[in-house]
Amino acid sequence: MENIIEIKNLYKKYKHAEEFSVNDISLNINQNEIYGILGPNGAGKTTLISMLSGLIKPTSGTFKINGLSPQKDGFKLRQIIGIVPQEYALYPTLTAKENLMFFGSLYGLPHKKLKIAIDESLELMGLSKFADKKVEQFSGGMKRRCNLIAGTLHNPKVLFLDEPTVGVDVQSKKAIIDYLLDLNKKGTCIIYTSHHLSEAEEFCTKIAIIDHGKIHAVGTPEELVNRVASAENLEDVFISLTGKELRDVVV
């Protein structure tokens, strides 16, 4: 299968930081993959996703998405990627529809097509009847769902998700996962970070466990579980690779 993301020797060291947040990561990610990047707090997951989505600049190393280089093809690259940040990233005083109209228009979707995409997505996420309500009136789960729609209206080839199900109830989590599976079926490669290991085990087709900015293991959930003799699930693998030490991070 063709690689949609190719990462070569990627490094990131923040100003005044003593250690690299991302330390020589090389990865190839296939199209149609749901790729989980898992790791404890401060492992470098968000930094890696931020670099790939163009939010921060790597210290060194290169990557290509769908054959496009961020330096040479920035505009084209931004057209094919979507991002769902960990924070809600919506205007609280605007309605769901108004938010989505604005964020969808940033990708140049024609007005009619955009309206159809918004209506369909709201329907899929069970938000249709709240389309004209202000986002500030939404529950956490509703905001998460709306946040997800805002990043996917343009049908991105690659979607970066930073803990998309954090703080939501079981129903909302299911709706989000179903929505993402549907997107993946339609051809979107999903790069996903989470602390919910059981969710990742179920949801991801491939997983990379990273810690201290380095990749410790890559494989399908089954492969990873099989790789560690005493492991019964992904959580056991995770603990065995990253240790039991608490990871309190001061940013």
Binding site: M51, S53, G54, L55, I56, K57, P58, P70, Q71, G74, F75, K76, R78, Q79, I81, I83, P85, E87, Y88, A89, L90, Y91, P92, T93, L94, E98, M101, F102, F103, S105, L106, Y107, G108, H111, K134, A150, G151
Partner: protein, 423 residues
């Protein structure tokens, strides 16, 4: 496609504003309150409105012609209300403790000593011409010391007010002295001609700019409306910078940054929205000047034939303010940084720009600094149109400077944003 993105960005900004009723009230009502308050205060400084007399202490230890003259002049001037039931010691205490703005103490024997002094000097002059002095008025040369009229001011009194009062008292005393000297010469020379009749041999006539056959006579409203309108327009810096900082804290700016829409489209959307606000603010302030001020016993703001030019200046001044707001919002990380810095910097720009103190009264160094203040360019452009009767050609330089300021601010913002975030 970019136009469509710009339109959606503009619509989003309008919706955000529409949902913030408190913000809209502040944006539109506060400048009106500002302009009404400042104009009322400044107008009353130059105009003696009924019932606005300043009470001052007047102590007459002379109780003769000169003190009566001074008292008469002060009472007729309609600026002061004289309080007379004090002695010098209690007056000093009352003024220094802030109960009164000032006290005037006329010394004992002021009239008598001044008369004697003048008579003596006139007699000497007349004698030097070989004219025999009037026997009746011939007196010995007396050595009389100059008399001091004591003025006490509240230490908190405005320097400008203090100087104005001192000048007025000086002028009064000078005129009385003049009259006395004329009178002394009349007496010595025995002439019956009234030498005092043509006392003002030189007078001033102010020639004002004209529009058609009409003189353009400046008044406090013509000065205040444009100056404070500009001040209010620049306050757009605060809500605009907060808007940008909020987008960072909400995370919505992340979506904008990763989208294929250039950052300048985002900025242009904000520029269009806030420019409309600036124009509405200005029109409301003009409306207050034109329609409300006459009902408040203030001169009407005259914009006859000048509205188009004024709106042009407003657009360019608004652009400069928006540029500054964009830069501030781009550089600041929190509202706690952008709001106080924005407000303070606008006040500083206003001070430097000559909104409060005319630039020509500033120290030389500050006059040079004022030349680089966008508020000074805007103020000059407004004054050129309203008070100097200029056209667009006359204000072209200021308009270009204001536009370049906007371009410079936005360019720095875009450059900074790219540098911070580019892959």
């Amino acid at each position: 496609m970019l136009l469509y993105k710009l339109w959606r960005s503009f619509v989003k900004e309008i919706l955000l504003l529409k949902r913030d009723i408190g913000g809209i009230v502040i944006i539109f009502v506060m400048p009106l309150l500002l302009i009404i308050t400042i104009t009322l205060i400044q107008d009353s400084t130059f105009k003696n409105l009924e019932g606005s007399k300043i009470p001052i202490i007047f102590i007459d230890n002379d109780k003769s012609e000169i003190s009566k003259n001074i008292k008469h002049e002060l009472e007729n001037g309609k600026t002061f209300e004289l309080v007379t039931n004090y002695n010098e010691k209690s007056a000093q205490k009352a003024v220094f403790s802030g109960d009164y703005q000032m006290a005037i103490v006329i010394p004992e024997n002021l009239t008598k000593d001044l008369n004697a002094n003048i008579d003596s000097k006139v007699q000497t002059i007349v004698s030097s011409f070989g004219i025999e002095a009037d026997a009746a008025s011939a007196k010995k040369n007396v050595d009389i010391k100059a008399k001091d009229i004591h003025l006490y001011f509240d230490p908190a009194t405005n320097i400008g007010f203090k100087n104005n009062v001192m000048n007025a008292v000086n002028k009064m005393v000078f005129e009385i002295e003049n009259k006395k000297i004329y009178k002394a010469f009349q007496d010595q020379l025995g002439t019956t001609e009234n030498l005092d009749e043509n006392k003002n041999l030189i007078s001033f006539k102010e020639i004002t700019p004209t529009k058609g056959k009409m003189d353009i006579i400046p008044n406090s409203v013509q000065h205040n409306v444009p100056a404070w309108a500009l001040f209010a327009i620049f306050f757009i810096v605060v809500p605009l910078s907060i808007n940008l900082v909020k987008e960072k804290s909400q995370g919505t700016s992340v979506r904008v940054r990763v989208s294929p829409t250039p950052y300048y489209i985002h900025i242009l959307g904000k520029t269009c929205t806030y420019l409309i606000i600036c124009i509405i603010q200005f029109l409301l302030m003009v409306a207050v000047g034109v329609y409300l001020f006459p009902y408040m016993n203030l001169p009407q703001f005259d914009v006859t034939g000048k509205m188009f030019h004024l709106i042009i200046v407003t657009i360019f001044a608004g652009l400069a303010a928006i540029g500054f707001g964009v830069l501030l919002g781009t550089l600041a990380d929190t509202q706690e940084q952008s709001a106080p810095f924005g407000a303070t910097s606008v006040v500083v720009l206003a001070a430097v720009g000559g909104i409060w103190v005319p630039v020509f009264l500033m120290p030389e160094f500050m006059q040079t600094v004022a030349k680089f203040s966008p508020m000074n360019w805007g103020l000059n452009a407004y004054y050129d149109i309203i008070l100097r009767n200029s056209g667009i050609a006359g204000i072209a330089k200021e308009l270009v400077l204001l536009f370049l300021f906007y371009i410079a601010m936005v360019t720095i913002s875009i450059f900074y944003e790219r540098k911070q975030n580019a892959v």
